[in-house]
Symmetry: C2
Subunit: 365 residues, 2 copies
Amino acid sequence: MIMQKKLTINDIARMAQVSKATVSRVLNRHASVDPVLRERVMDIVQEHNFVPNVTATELANGRTRLIGVLAPPLNWPAIPEIMHGVSEYIETTPYEVVLYSMNLERNHSDVLDRILAMRMVSGLLAILPGGLSSHLDTFFQQGLPLVMIDDQKEPTHIPWVGIDNFSSAYEATNYLLQLGHRRIAHIMGPRHYYCALQRLEGYQQALLEAGIPLEPDLLLQGEFEPASGRRCAEMLFAQDRGTWPSAIFVGNDQMAYGVLEVAEERKIQVPEAVSIIGFDDNLLSAHMRPPLTTMHQPFMEMGYQATKLLLNMIDPEHVHKPEQKWQAFSSSLPDTTKNDHSSRIQIPTHLVTRTSSGAFHPRLL
Amino acid sequence: MIMQKKLTINDIARMAQVSKATVSRVLNRHASVDPVLRERVMDIVQEHNFVPNVTATELANGRTRLIGVLAPPLNWPAIPEIMHGVSEYIETTPYEVVLYSMNLERNHSDVLDRILAMRMVSGLLAILPGGLSSHLDTFFQQGLPLVMIDDQKEPTHIPWVGIDNFSSAYEATNYLLQLGHRRIAHIMGPRHYYCALQRLEGYQQALLEAGIPLEPDLLLQGEFEPASGRRCAEMLFAQDRGTWPSAIFVGNDQMAYGVLEVAEERKIQVPEAVSIIGFDDNLLSAHMRPPLTTMHQPFMEMGYQATKLLLNMIDPEHVHKPEQKWQAFSSSLPDTTKNDHSSRIQIPTHLVTRTSSGAFHPRLL
DNA sequence: TTGTATGCGTTATCAC
DNA sequence: GTGATAACGCATACAA
């Protein structure tokens, strides 16, 4: 019914006995159009289910309705959630998502060059761009609408959506302190991740404020994935029980999974013998045994807000422009951020208390 | 360096002192171009890093370089892997992926209509289209290049990539039979999934050939997710031990996770007391405790082959056409299917034997 | 082999 | 308010 005849705006014009300019004006909701003509045109349009050719529209406008999303492999824990948020917002607009999923072996900067050079997308959302972020920076300088999600470098002037890693880590550590723990270990992520550094600082700050000296033995470094969590846990539990921490703040959930495994293998009761708290609140964390206490990162919300920010940069009017597409939908997500107009959006995290953490009680010998 | 001046083919023509037609011919590798001119043009092109505007190219060609991918939520277990395969092939072509990720609550057929009406994509890859498949069918009739991955309906004439669910289930069941099991339960998926039905038939066929009567009590139906697996497992283990199966063939890994949980809670040894085998080989299955024996579905390969098939439908020459883009890359995946020219590709599965399954030994009372 | 001219389907800029 | 008409950037039939 729809692909049959490739109707063009000219056909509609002829049928409605007006000029194509008028048809275009009707289609684009231009005010100055005789209501009678308007209706005559719309009737024909609807009768034939006419939709303007998007490519021609783009050529005439000098701008595509595509935004590129640069994403790490989709099987990374947080990516599907972020993409969910992206889709959620995109659906309320006339834009679509072009997915560039990167495998990390390759350096995709050449691909990036081509994409941008051919003007395929009118903006870019970069999720965890990592090594590409400096390359992206030069594009941003040249005027490319760009938003980064949770980048791994120091803060820049590039529009950004993420969380406050320092405060979140501080809060997580404080929670353990309030449970009575004093020997609190931290398994941090790789030092080249800015977030890992921030979380470390939050942890240290909390300890210092509680008057607890930092013990080098209680700080280990992993790779943000389960195997490294295992490794670090084994080191923590290598010596005699007296040296064990009573709580471990793990830099992310993935590593915490590894810690839980080691604890189970060694029959170390969680949380009785050792409390464990993660960071991220990945989908699986609620289903660990025991369910993992962790700092919740609102990944979906991050994707949503980042997309919203990007579209406001590309086309500030997109929200108000009457387009058929959004009459059908309305956003299901509320605006939880106050600083909508900022180009640096921090989304609040919150602690999710589950059973992997509990009050400290002196080691039973 | 690249976004500066919006060079057009006209600029290049002027600088090279040729007509824009010639520039176009050079860019598109037309044979009949004087090598001298060709080089002169290419020099200018490279010097200025010129890339043709993709929108204009598309308008002139009457065809976009976008393929739409209709996908279920990305956090469904197999989707990231499938998408990985899609990306892997797409990278070898000049096409890009527009991601339409569907949340299941909404009926997206109207969105689909718009997308196709505006001619944004030149082909569609539908992953588990489910309820949309009949709607898609009408588009296919009208000439839309379309490939489905693992659809949930009966086989149609629509190009398709998937596995042989019947044979795979048959093989899985036979494996249990060869381990000596005789009371083999099956937790099937929802009956409205064609694959669930096929797997059931494979299971039954294997039992029948072994001369084992089908016991209704040993057949349960879940929803393809963990909670339903739990529920079914609890039913199987509800009565006295004498009635328990010694092995369970679970319709997919997700449900098998639920079964493993129940077994652990009830201290039912796996595989000593009961062998468990899943279907799919999701990423997590290797990390279950115990690691799950399961029928491996090559999801990445499916995504790869489906994309390849689709691009051959859209543009049979795309493999040979000399494009800058693929000089940089070459496919890392071999062709494992023989029937490349068929429009119905079955990709072989294989059993992955891990520790959740073992030889039958009589119940120790 | 190369250049000219036209088409691709819209939008926007003019006159009217 | 409305209608010609010129962009938009490229591809290609046709002529040279």
